[in-house]
Symmetry: C2
Subunit: 195 residues, 2 copies
Protein backbone atom coordinates (compact mmCIF):
# COMPACT_ATOMS: atom_id res chain seq x y z
CA UNK A 1 0.00 0.00 0.00
CA UNK A 2 2.73 2.49 0.90
CA UNK A 3 5.10 1.34 -1.78
CA UNK A 4 3.41 3.19 -4.58
CA UNK A 5 3.70 6.42 -2.58
CA UNK A 6 7.36 5.79 -1.78
CA UNK A 7 8.07 5.03 -5.41
CA UNK A 8 6.46 8.32 -6.33
CA UNK A 9 8.54 10.22 -3.76
CA UNK A 10 11.65 8.42 -4.89
CA UNK A 11 11.00 9.21 -8.54
CA UNK A 12 11.03 12.90 -7.66
CA UNK A 13 14.48 12.61 -6.13
CA UNK A 14 13.67 12.28 -2.44
CA UNK A 15 14.81 9.22 -0.48
CA UNK A 16 13.31 8.54 2.96
CA UNK A 17 14.82 6.46 5.74
CA UNK A 18 12.74 4.25 8.04
CA UNK A 19 12.21 6.91 10.70
CA UNK A 20 11.00 9.33 8.12
CA UNK A 21 8.71 6.73 6.62
CA UNK A 22 7.25 6.10 10.07
CA UNK A 23 6.49 9.81 10.47
CA UNK A 24 4.93 9.91 7.04
CA UNK A 25 2.79 6.86 7.65
CA UNK A 26 1.49 8.28 10.90
CA UNK A 27 0.18 11.36 9.08
CA UNK A 28 -1.70 9.80 6.18
CA UNK A 29 -5.06 8.08 6.43
CA UNK A 30 -6.10 5.24 4.15
CA UNK A 31 -9.55 5.37 2.63
CA UNK A 32 -11.44 3.38 0.03
CA UNK A 33 -14.24 4.81 -2.12
CA UNK A 34 -16.76 2.85 -4.13
CA UNK A 35 -17.56 3.75 -7.71
CA UNK A 36 -19.69 6.91 -7.73
CA UNK A 37 -18.68 8.14 -4.27
CA UNK A 38 -17.45 11.68 -3.82
CA UNK A 39 -14.00 12.55 -2.51
CA UNK A 40 -14.78 16.28 -2.69
CA UNK A 41 -18.08 18.08 -3.17
CA UNK A 42 -18.68 21.59 -4.46
CA UNK A 43 -19.07 24.23 -1.71
CA UNK A 44 -17.28 22.12 0.89
CA UNK A 45 -13.95 23.13 2.34
CA UNK A 46 -11.43 20.56 1.14
CA UNK A 47 -9.89 18.83 4.13
CA UNK A 48 -7.54 16.38 2.40
CA UNK A 49 -5.18 16.06 -0.47
CA UNK A 50 -5.43 12.49 -1.73
CA UNK A 51 -2.75 10.29 -3.22
CA UNK A 52 -4.41 7.66 -5.40
CA UNK A 53 -3.15 4.12 -4.79
CA UNK A 54 -5.51 2.62 -7.33
CA UNK A 55 -8.67 3.60 -9.16
CA UNK A 56 -9.88 6.48 -11.32
CA UNK A 57 -11.22 9.88 -10.31
CA UNK A 58 -12.56 12.89 -12.11
CA UNK A 59 -12.41 16.52 -10.98
CA UNK A 60 -15.17 18.58 -12.53
CA UNK A 61 -17.32 21.67 -12.24
CA UNK A 62 -21.02 22.07 -12.95
CA UNK A 63 -22.02 25.27 -14.77
CA UNK A 64 -25.32 27.22 -14.52
CA UNK A 65 -26.84 25.06 -17.24
CA UNK A 66 -26.02 21.92 -15.31
CA UNK A 67 -23.28 20.89 -17.73
CA UNK A 68 -20.30 19.07 -16.26
CA UNK A 69 -16.77 20.06 -17.25
CA UNK A 70 -13.94 17.73 -16.36
CA UNK A 71 -10.85 19.69 -15.33
CA UNK A 72 -8.71 16.63 -14.75
CA UNK A 73 -8.71 12.89 -14.20
CA UNK A 74 -6.71 11.02 -11.60
CA UNK A 75 -5.41 7.49 -11.41
CA UNK A 76 -2.82 5.22 -9.77
CA UNK A 77 0.11 7.24 -8.46
CA UNK A 78 -1.42 10.69 -9.01
CA UNK A 79 -2.64 13.22 -6.50
CA UNK A 80 -6.11 14.69 -6.48
CA UNK A 81 -7.82 17.42 -4.47
CA UNK A 82 -8.19 21.17 -4.75
CA UNK A 83 -5.09 23.05 -3.64
CA UNK A 84 -7.00 26.31 -3.55
CA UNK A 85 -9.61 25.19 -1.05
CA UNK A 86 -7.12 23.01 0.83
CA UNK A 87 -4.76 25.89 1.53
CA UNK A 88 -7.14 28.82 1.87
CA UNK A 89 -9.85 26.83 3.66
CA UNK A 90 -12.42 28.46 1.43
CA UNK A 91 -15.25 26.62 -0.33
CA UNK A 92 -14.26 24.65 -3.40
CA UNK A 93 -15.82 25.01 -6.85
CA UNK A 94 -14.93 21.44 -7.75
CA UNK A 95 -16.44 18.01 -7.42
CA UNK A 96 -14.23 14.97 -7.32
CA UNK A 97 -15.84 11.57 -7.64
CA UNK A 98 -14.73 8.05 -8.36
CA UNK A 99 -15.24 6.50 -11.78
CA UNK A 100 -14.12 3.15 -10.40
CA UNK A 101 -13.43 1.83 -6.92
CA UNK A 102 -10.58 3.97 -5.66
CA UNK A 103 -8.12 3.64 -2.79
CA UNK A 104 -6.37 6.75 -1.53
CA UNK A 105 -3.98 7.97 1.13
CA UNK A 106 -5.20 11.27 2.54
CA UNK A 107 -3.39 14.02 4.37
CA UNK A 108 -4.81 17.12 6.07
CA UNK A 109 -3.28 20.56 5.81
CA UNK A 110 -1.90 20.59 9.40
CA UNK A 111 -0.51 17.10 8.86
CA UNK A 112 1.15 18.21 5.64
CA UNK A 113 2.79 21.14 7.42
CA UNK A 114 3.90 18.82 10.22
CA UNK A 115 5.33 16.40 7.68
CA UNK A 116 7.28 19.15 5.94
CA UNK A 117 8.59 20.46 9.27
CA UNK A 118 9.68 17.09 10.58
CA UNK A 119 10.96 15.83 7.23
CA UNK A 120 12.15 18.97 5.46
CA UNK A 121 13.10 17.15 2.29
CA UNK A 122 9.40 16.58 1.72
CA UNK A 123 9.39 20.24 0.73
CA UNK A 124 11.59 19.21 -2.16
CA UNK A 125 9.16 16.43 -3.04
CA UNK A 126 6.25 18.85 -3.14
CA UNK A 127 8.25 21.45 -4.99
CA UNK A 128 9.08 18.88 -7.68
CA UNK A 129 5.58 17.42 -7.71
CA UNK A 130 4.01 20.83 -8.22
CA UNK A 131 6.59 21.74 -10.81
CA UNK A 132 5.60 18.70 -12.85
CA UNK A 133 1.97 19.60 -12.52
CA UNK A 134 2.68 23.10 -13.86
CA UNK A 135 4.53 21.59 -16.80
CA UNK A 136 1.56 19.34 -17.55
CA UNK A 137 -0.96 22.18 -17.33
CA UNK A 138 1.22 24.32 -19.53
CA UNK A 139 1.36 21.63 -22.22
CA UNK A 140 -2.38 21.14 -22.00
CA UNK A 141 -2.96 24.88 -22.35
CA UNK A 142 -0.70 24.84 -25.39
CA UNK A 143 -2.66 22.09 -27.07
CA UNK A 144 -6.05 23.67 -26.34
CA UNK A 145 -4.73 26.86 -27.91
CA UNK A 146 -3.17 25.42 -31.03
CA UNK A 147 -4.80 22.10 -31.81
CA UNK A 148 -8.12 21.05 -33.31
CA UNK A 149 -10.51 18.77 -31.43
CA UNK A 150 -9.51 15.63 -33.40
CA UNK A 151 -5.85 16.36 -32.71
CA UNK A 152 -6.50 16.89 -29.02
CA UNK A 153 -8.40 13.61 -28.88
CA UNK A 154 -5.53 11.74 -30.52
CA UNK A 155 -3.09 13.40 -28.13
CA UNK A 156 -5.22 12.40 -25.16
CA UNK A 157 -5.18 8.79 -26.32
CA UNK A 158 -1.40 8.90 -26.68
CA UNK A 159 -0.78 10.59 -23.34
CA UNK A 160 -3.32 8.81 -21.16
CA UNK A 161 -4.00 5.36 -22.62
CA UNK A 162 -4.79 3.97 -19.16
CA UNK A 163 -7.41 6.60 -18.53
CA UNK A 164 -8.87 6.32 -22.00
CA UNK A 165 -9.58 2.65 -21.36
CA UNK A 166 -11.27 3.25 -18.05
CA UNK A 167 -13.56 6.24 -18.56
CA UNK A 168 -16.65 6.75 -20.72
CA UNK A 169 -16.37 8.60 -24.01
CA UNK A 170 -18.67 11.39 -22.89
CA UNK A 171 -16.26 12.03 -20.02
CA UNK A 172 -13.34 12.25 -22.40
CA UNK A 173 -15.40 14.69 -24.45
CA UNK A 174 -16.00 16.80 -21.37
CA UNK A 175 -12.27 16.80 -20.60
CA UNK A 176 -11.50 17.91 -24.15
CA UNK A 177 -14.09 20.67 -23.97
CA UNK A 178 -16.41 19.28 -26.64
CA UNK A 179 -19.79 17.55 -26.59
CA UNK A 180 -20.26 13.78 -26.58
CA UNK A 181 -21.88 14.06 -30.02
CA UNK A 182 -18.89 15.85 -31.47
CA UNK A 183 -16.53 13.26 -30.05
CA UNK A 184 -18.64 10.51 -31.55
CA UNK A 185 -18.35 12.12 -34.97
CA UNK A 186 -14.61 12.62 -34.54
CA UNK A 187 -14.22 8.95 -33.69
CA UNK A 188 -16.16 7.94 -36.75
CA UNK A 189 -13.98 10.14 -38.94
CA UNK A 190 -10.84 8.67 -37.42
CA UNK A 191 -12.12 5.11 -37.91
CA UNK A 192 -13.03 5.80 -41.56
CA UNK A 193 -9.66 7.35 -42.20
CA UNK A 194 -7.93 4.17 -41.08
CA UNK A 195 -9.90 1.81 -43.35
Amino acid sequence: MWDILYQNIDKLGVVLNDDEKAILQSLFKYRKFRKGQYIVQQDDVVKYESFIISGVTRTYTVDEKGQEHIITFGTDGWWTGDLYSFFTQKATAYNIDCIAETEVLQITQPALEELCNKVPKMNIYYRNLYRNSIIAFSKRMQSTLEKSAPERYEEFRQNYPLIEQRVANHQIASFLGITAQSLSRIRRQAANAKI
Copy 2:
Protein backbone atom coordinates in the same frame (compact mmCIF):
# COMPACT_ATOMS: atom_id res chain seq x y z
CA MET B 1 15.58 46.29 -6.90
CA TRP B 2 15.59 43.38 -4.45
CA ASP B 3 12.64 44.61 -2.48
CA ILE B 4 10.04 43.41 -4.93
CA LEU B 5 11.51 39.90 -4.75
CA TYR B 6 11.62 39.97 -0.96
CA GLN B 7 8.04 41.19 -0.83
CA ASN B 8 7.09 38.28 -3.04
CA ILE B 9 8.91 35.78 -0.83
CA ASP B 10 7.40 37.34 2.25
CA LYS B 11 3.89 37.19 0.81
CA LEU B 12 4.28 33.43 0.46
CA GLY B 13 5.08 33.05 4.13
CA VAL B 14 8.89 32.97 4.10
CA VAL B 15 10.93 35.55 6.01
CA LEU B 16 14.66 35.87 5.31
CA ASN B 17 17.31 37.33 7.62
CA ASP B 18 20.22 39.41 6.36
CA ASP B 19 22.60 36.46 5.95
CA GLU B 20 20.05 34.60 3.91
CA LYS B 21 19.39 37.66 1.80
CA ALA B 22 23.11 37.93 1.14
CA ILE B 23 23.21 34.33 -0.09
CA LEU B 24 20.20 34.90 -2.26
CA GLN B 25 21.61 38.08 -3.77
CA SER B 26 24.86 36.36 -4.63
CA LEU B 27 22.98 33.77 -6.71
CA PHE B 28 20.74 35.97 -8.85
CA LYS B 29 21.87 38.00 -11.81
CA TYR B 30 20.23 41.26 -12.81
CA ARG B 31 19.45 41.78 -16.46
CA LYS B 32 17.54 44.32 -18.48
CA PHE B 33 15.84 43.57 -21.81
CA ARG B 34 14.64 46.09 -24.33
CA LYS B 35 11.22 45.82 -25.91
CA GLY B 36 11.25 43.00 -28.44
CA GLN B 37 14.26 41.17 -27.03
CA TYR B 38 14.01 37.48 -26.29
CA ILE B 39 14.47 36.01 -22.83
CA VAL B 40 14.00 32.48 -24.19
CA GLN B 41 13.99 31.19 -27.76
CA GLN B 42 12.44 28.01 -29.09
CA ASP B 43 14.88 25.04 -29.33
CA ASP B 44 17.29 26.53 -26.81
CA VAL B 45 17.90 24.94 -23.45
CA VAL B 46 16.52 27.32 -20.84
CA LYS B 47 19.32 28.39 -18.54
CA TYR B 48 17.47 30.76 -16.21
CA GLU B 49 14.23 31.21 -14.42
CA SER B 50 13.49 34.93 -14.35
CA PHE B 51 11.77 36.99 -11.70
CA ILE B 52 10.30 40.08 -13.32
CA ILE B 53 11.06 43.31 -11.46
CA SER B 54 9.26 45.44 -14.00
CA GLY B 55 8.01 45.13 -17.54
CA VAL B 56 5.80 42.76 -19.54
CA THR B 57 6.65 39.44 -21.17
CA ARG B 58 4.81 36.91 -23.26
CA THR B 59 5.42 33.17 -23.45
CA TYR B 60 4.24 31.71 -26.71
CA THR B 61 4.56 28.90 -29.22
CA VAL B 62 4.57 29.07 -32.99
CA ASP B 63 2.61 26.33 -34.79
CA GLU B 64 3.28 24.80 -38.23
CA LYS B 65 1.21 27.52 -39.89
CA GLY B 66 3.31 30.21 -38.27
CA GLN B 67 0.52 31.24 -35.90
CA GLU B 68 1.58 32.42 -32.47
CA HIS B 69 -0.23 31.16 -29.37
CA ILE B 70 0.36 32.98 -26.11
CA ILE B 71 0.50 30.53 -23.21
CA THR B 72 0.99 33.18 -20.57
CA PHE B 73 1.97 36.76 -19.89
CA GLY B 74 4.33 37.97 -17.20
CA THR B 75 4.68 41.25 -15.38
CA ASP B 76 6.01 42.92 -12.23
CA GLY B 77 6.44 40.40 -9.44
CA TRP B 78 5.80 37.29 -11.55
CA TRP B 79 8.20 34.59 -12.63
CA THR B 80 8.75 33.55 -16.22
CA GLY B 81 10.72 30.78 -17.92
CA ASP B 82 10.06 27.20 -18.87
CA LEU B 83 10.27 24.82 -15.94
CA TYR B 84 10.35 21.83 -18.27
CA SER B 85 13.46 22.87 -20.17
CA PHE B 86 15.04 24.43 -17.08
CA PHE B 87 14.90 21.20 -15.09
CA THR B 88 15.35 18.58 -17.79
CA GLN B 89 17.91 20.59 -19.77
CA LYS B 90 16.05 19.64 -22.93
CA ALA B 91 15.14 22.05 -25.72
CA THR B 92 12.19 24.32 -25.05
CA ALA B 93 9.11 24.65 -27.26
CA TYR B 94 8.49 28.17 -26.04
CA ASN B 95 9.52 31.67 -26.92
CA ILE B 96 9.54 34.38 -24.30
CA ASP B 97 9.98 37.95 -25.41
CA CYS B 98 9.49 41.37 -23.93
CA ILE B 99 6.46 43.47 -24.83
CA ALA B 100 7.99 46.41 -22.99
CA GLU B 101 11.38 47.11 -21.47
CA THR B 102 11.76 44.47 -18.79
CA GLU B 103 14.08 44.10 -15.81
CA VAL B 104 14.57 40.64 -14.36
CA LEU B 105 16.53 38.77 -11.73
CA GLN B 106 17.75 35.47 -13.14
CA ILE B 107 18.81 32.28 -11.45
CA THR B 108 20.38 29.17 -12.98
CA GLN B 109 19.40 25.64 -12.06
CA PRO B 110 22.58 24.92 -10.05
CA ALA B 111 22.20 28.26 -8.27
CA LEU B 112 18.59 27.43 -7.44
CA GLU B 113 19.63 24.11 -5.93
CA GLU B 114 22.40 25.83 -3.99
CA LEU B 115 19.93 28.41 -2.73
CA CYS B 116 17.50 25.73 -1.57
CA ASN B 117 20.30 23.80 0.12
CA LYS B 118 21.77 26.79 1.93
CA VAL B 119 18.42 28.37 2.74
CA PRO B 120 16.05 25.40 3.07
CA LYS B 121 13.01 27.54 3.69
CA MET B 122 13.29 28.64 0.07
CA ASN B 123 11.86 25.19 -0.68
CA ILE B 124 8.73 26.37 1.07
CA TYR B 125 8.72 29.53 -1.01
CA TYR B 126 8.93 27.52 -4.24
CA ARG B 127 6.39 25.01 -3.04
CA ASN B 128 3.92 27.81 -2.35
CA LEU B 129 4.82 29.66 -5.52
CA TYR B 130 4.22 26.59 -7.67
CA ARG B 131 1.06 25.77 -5.79
CA ASN B 132 -0.36 29.18 -6.67
CA SER B 133 0.59 28.67 -10.26
CA ILE B 134 -1.27 25.35 -10.35
CA ILE B 135 -4.34 27.04 -8.87
CA ALA B 136 -4.18 29.72 -11.56
CA PHE B 137 -3.78 27.19 -14.39
CA SER B 138 -6.64 25.15 -13.00
CA LYS B 139 -8.94 28.18 -12.97
CA ARG B 140 -7.91 29.07 -16.48
CA MET B 141 -8.60 25.52 -17.65
CA GLN B 142 -12.01 25.75 -16.04
CA SER B 143 -12.90 28.93 -17.83
CA THR B 144 -11.69 27.69 -21.22
CA LEU B 145 -13.88 24.63 -20.72
CA GLU B 146 -17.05 26.31 -19.57
CA LYS B 147 -17.07 29.89 -20.79
CA SER B 148 -17.70 31.58 -24.13
CA ALA B 149 -15.12 33.84 -25.75
CA PRO B 150 -16.86 37.09 -24.65
CA GLU B 151 -17.03 35.79 -21.08
CA ARG B 152 -13.37 34.81 -21.12
CA TYR B 153 -12.44 38.24 -22.42
CA GLU B 154 -14.38 39.95 -19.66
CA GLU B 155 -12.78 37.66 -17.10
CA PHE B 156 -9.32 38.47 -18.48
CA ARG B 157 -10.01 42.17 -18.10
CA GLN B 158 -11.14 41.65 -14.53
CA ASN B 159 -8.24 39.41 -13.56
CA TYR B 160 -5.38 41.14 -15.35
CA PRO B 161 -6.23 44.82 -15.77
CA LEU B 162 -2.55 45.78 -15.70
CA ILE B 163 -1.72 43.41 -18.51
CA GLU B 164 -4.77 44.39 -20.53
CA GLN B 165 -3.53 47.98 -20.54
CA ARG B 166 -0.04 47.09 -21.66
CA VAL B 167 -0.45 44.51 -24.41
CA ALA B 168 -1.95 44.69 -27.90
CA ASN B 169 -5.44 43.34 -28.53
CA HIS B 170 -4.24 40.70 -30.95
CA GLN B 171 -2.03 39.37 -28.18
CA ILE B 172 -4.97 39.16 -25.81
CA ALA B 173 -6.85 37.33 -28.56
CA SER B 174 -4.00 34.87 -28.89
CA PHE B 175 -4.00 34.30 -25.13
CA LEU B 176 -7.76 33.67 -25.20
CA GLY B 177 -7.42 31.26 -28.10
CA ILE B 178 -9.38 33.31 -30.62
CA THR B 179 -8.44 35.40 -33.66
CA ALA B 180 -7.81 39.14 -33.56
CA GLN B 181 -10.86 39.61 -35.79
CA SER B 182 -13.11 37.74 -33.40
CA LEU B 183 -11.86 39.77 -30.47
CA SER B 184 -12.51 42.95 -32.39
CA ARG B 185 -16.13 41.89 -32.98
CA ILE B 186 -16.52 40.86 -29.34
CA ARG B 187 -15.30 44.28 -28.25
CA ARG B 188 -17.75 46.00 -30.55
CA GLN B 189 -20.61 43.91 -29.19
CA ALA B 190 -19.59 44.71 -25.63
CA ALA B 191 -19.33 48.43 -26.42
CA ASN B 192 -22.76 48.44 -28.07
CA ALA B 193 -24.29 46.58 -25.15
CA LYS B 194 -23.16 49.31 -22.78
CA ILE B 195 -24.65 52.21 -24.73
